[in-house]
Each structure stands twice: as C-alpha cells, then as structure tokens.
Amino acid sequence: MAKRIEAKNLNIYYSKFLAVSEVNFTIAPRSVTAFIGPSGCGKSTVLRTINRMHEVIAGAHVQGDVLLDGENIYGSAVDPVDVRRTIGMVFQRPNPFPTMSIYDNVVAGLKLQSGRIKKVELDDTVEKSLRGANLWEEVKDRLGKPGAGLSGGQQQRLCIARAIAVEPQVLLMDEPCSALDPISTLAIEDLIQSLKEKYTIVIVTHNMQQAARVSERTAFFNLAGVGKPGQLVEIDDTQKIFSNPSEQRTEDYISGRFG
C-alpha cells in the first residue's frame, strides 16, 4: 500500500515570507528517509507540506507540486482532509488526546472520520495498531485508562498507533524522539524499522546518529545564506551522505563544522 512521494519545484511560504525554496526530491515506497539540517532551515516545514499540515498556520501556503504516486495532493479538486487520511503524522511531542482513554485514542481517527463502526472491528484495529506500535503488551490490561497517564515514550508509541490505525500509506515523523529518553528513543527506532515494511516513512531528526541508524536515504537541508530561504542541499543514500557527500556544505555539517 505504501506510495512514492515526489516534490517538484516546491516553494513554501509563510504569508509573503519564502521559507523554503525550490525543493525537488523523490522518495521511494517502503523506505525510510531522514531530513536533517540545522535548526530553522525548514526541514519540518517541508515535512508538513507533504500532508498539507503546513497550511493549518494562517497565511502559510505552497507553490509547486507534491505527487503521491503521481497524483498531485495540491490539485484543485483535492480535499486536504483526504490527503491527511492517506498520509499520517507523528509529532515532536507526544500529544495523545487528554480526554480519551488509550483505546479511544487509538481509534480516534477512525471514529471521527467515519462515525459508526462495529465494536468488533474497533477492537481488532486497537490490537493491531498497538501491536504495530510495540505497545500492546504494555497496555493491553489498561486500555480504558487515560492515554495521558502513560510515560513519554509510551505516549509517543500510542500516537504512532493512533496514526497507523487509520491505515495511511505514508507516515511522517517530525522529530519523534526529541522529547524522549534514550531507552524510549531506541524503542521508537526499532519500531520504525518494522514499520517500513508497510509504510513510506519520512522522519525529521536533529540527531545525525539517528538518521544514520534508521534511514536508507537522507536529505540535507540548509539555509541558502543569512536571511535567505531554506533549500534542499542534497538527497542521497544515507551511507553516501555520511561517508562521502557530493556537497561540501553537507560534509561541513556532518563533520560538525557548523550547525
């Protein structure tokens, strides 16, 4: 079910301010791609354009195309709500819905999207998604407890379960481990490895070791200069980026000379 993502001549704005310019890339299905780069370079912004979350901020808009298996998600007949159902997202800080139980959190997307669903189906989805997020064993006895009562790492896996419960084809992760301790981070990284069997995954990370560990491809973003918009410097196999990048700027960043 996973899909290919292509960005063509993507320019991303906050009102009149051009935040990221001329991004082009292709992401293969069932792969993990990491976005790295110094802070403020627009990597999260690019990620958010892939499921049209960018435009949730007022004045924010996009020029250019993002194609999902060839179909432009910015086409004029496309409903952003449908886009987001196909492309799930996990955020930097775990954000389970505080009013809902673990169970309800997992099926929130399903229930809110399409109203009445049979209890048996919901039960199935909950177990499947929680297993998929490596959380089932830890919470199966307290599904009725509030999701906010879990530890940070568990909450983040709950959010992943919530995202995969609606069976998206792409999973976007915006620094999913930056608010977590090392052990929880490891759990999430393991999870990413197993998720890529089914989903196309794009992950923004600040942690270069993490990018090296989990991804097959890596995209390096940077500001074109002081006061200039962010840009995609290069995208290549992770191994190549970290050993022998084509661009000097990438090498400088990787080797810790700036950023």
């Binding site: 979350m53 949730v56 987001r84 799930g88 955020f91 954000n95 819905f97 809110l112 609606v166």
Partner: protein, 300 residues
C-alpha cells in the same frame, strides 16, 4: 541611591528614610486587604445572624408567601426559588449555545474583521447595565409587541448579561487547549469542525462549565430586570409565559417598604432570610464552579 555607600553589609540598613518608606508601604498594602475583609465579614455576618433563624424555620424551603402579610410570621421561599430557577434555567438554555458558538468563533475562526467587531461587542455587552438590558427587552417585547410582563422576558434580559460571561470564559479555556491537539486531529484526517466539537471543546469542557456556573451565579441575583419585566408575586407561579412571578431578589425587594415598621419585624426577618437563601445559592454555585475548574484537563 543618595545614601552614602555602606562600609559593611551588615551595616547597610538601607538608610532610615528608605527603610521607613518601605515599611510604610508594606503596612498600607497589607491594610488594603484588611479593608476589603471588613465589609465582607460584616456583610456576611449580618446576613447570617439576621437570616439564620428564618431559614431554619419549618416550611421555609417548602412553602410560599401566599396569604401572608407583613403582619404575619411564617411562609417560605419556595415560590421565589422556583421562579428564580425557572428564569435562570431558561436564560441558561438560551445563553449557553450562543455563547459557546461565539467563543468558538472568536478563538477557532477569529482574526477577521467580524471577529474583531464581535470581540469588541462582547466587551460592550459585558458593560451593559442590567437596567439597560431590561429596558431594551421592555422596549422590544412590551411596548413594541404589546406583550404582558412575564418571567420569560426576565430570562431574555438575563441572556444579555450571561452571554458575555460565558463567552469570555470559553475563550480563555479554548486558548488553553494546546495547538498540538488540534494538529494531531487534523493529521488524522479529521475535519476542522469535528476537531473542534470532539477534541477541542471536550478538552476545555470543565473550564467552560465553570464559566456557565459563574454566569448563573451572576444572573441569579439580578434584580433590575425583575422590577421592569415581571411583578413580584408572593404566590407560586410556575408559568414563565404569564403572570407575576416570585423570585429571590424580588422577594427581598418586596419586603423593603415594611422595614421601617416597628410593630412587625416579620418583613425584616423575611428579607434577611431570603437574602441568606440567595447568598447560599450563589456562593454554592461559585464554589462548585471553582471545584470544577480545579479538575480541569487544561492546566492554567
């Protein structure tokens, strides 16, 4: 900083004048709180001491003032509680949906010209004197549409006083809902309106309930609309649509003409009794509102 530099830290007594000013300010500031405490304690003590024996009489909570004159003891407050409860309930039923929608509009769809205007108008509504609200309802429904004074018009006037209270609390509470939750919902492919109805409002729910209860507490003690829009009836009348109606503030007000009467103290007793009853109800609402607020899902 005109004082000479102190030679030792221990000796730096910050200069006599400065220290004196500082002490004086501390005393005054603390005294200010004392000044606020005096009327509160005095008032509550007065109402409690004068009203307690009345409200503990048998029949106070269950009977009306039917056939009871200022020369007779007894009777109760039931008709007044019923009238106030009905008027406030109807007012709440009308106010809550309007105020919730306005609050949601201002926070979730705000920023435009209409929203700015609305926000300003809510401020103005907050400041409208209750007597002006009552006159407006009178001008519309009684002089223009020739209605007869009735409880329902009181409810309508109270709506104007209650809406801004609930709008403001709703706004505050919606602001406290983290944007991450909205984004999480959008990212699941949930439309905006469902995000608001199923995620944002439930998260802010207890805070909104607090606002509603504070609104109820505010209007339950309002008297001016009662004077203009419905007469006081010592008899039980549960019909909001016609006839005079009892109410707690109305009952207090109705006793005032007999206060100077030296031979009969029953009116005065009744007045303090109904004042105490009203205070108990309003304070209870306030306390419950605060307790609900403490259990809020969104922390402030």
């Amino acid at each position: 900083m005109t004082a000479a530099a102190p030679t030792t830290l221990a000796g730096s007594s910050k200069g006599g004048v400065r220290a004196f000013k500082n002490t004086l300010a501390t005393v005054l500031v603390t005294a200010a709180f004392g000044i606020a405490l005096i009327p509160l304690v005095w008032l509550l003590w007065t109402v409690l001491s004068k009203g307690l024996k009345t409200i503990t009489q048998s029949g106070w909570w269950t009977s009306s003032q039917r056939n009871i004159t200022y020369r007779k003891p007894g009777g109760g407050v039931w008709h007044a509680i019923l009238g106030t409860a009905e008027q406030v309930l109807l007012c709440t039923l009308i106010s809550v949906p309007i105020a919730l929608l306005v609050g949601i509009y201002l926070i979730e769809y705000g920023g435009g010209r209409l929203a700015k205007l609305t926000s300003f108008m809510v401020d103005i509504l907050t400041g409208i004197p209750s007597i002006v609200a009552a006159l407006f309802i009178y001008a519309v429904f009684i002089t223009t549409f020739h209605g007869q004074r009735a409880g329902i018009y009181v409810s309508l006037a109270l709506v104007m006083l209650m809406v801004p209270v609930i709008v403001r609390t709703t706004e505050e509470m919606l602001k406290l809902v983290p944007n991450e939750l909205r984004e999480a919902s959008y990212a699941l492919g949930v439309p905006k309106w469902k995000t608001i109805v199923k995620i944002v409002v439930p998260t802010a729910f207890s805070g909104i309930v607090t606002g509603i209860m504070l609104g109820i507490a505010r209007v339950a003690g309002e008297t001016a609309p009662l004077l203009i829009l419905v007469g006081y009836s010592p008899d039980t009348n549960s019909n909001l649509l016609s006839g005079f109606q009892g109410s707690l503030p109305g009952m207090i007000y109705a006793q005032v003409p007999q206060l100077g009467n030296i031979r009969y103290h029953y009116a005065a007793d009744r007045m303090w009794g109904s004042a105490l009853t009203l205070i108990i109800i309003v304070m209870a609402l306030n306390l419950v509102a605060r307790l609900v607020a403490r259990r809020s899902k969104v922390s402030n």
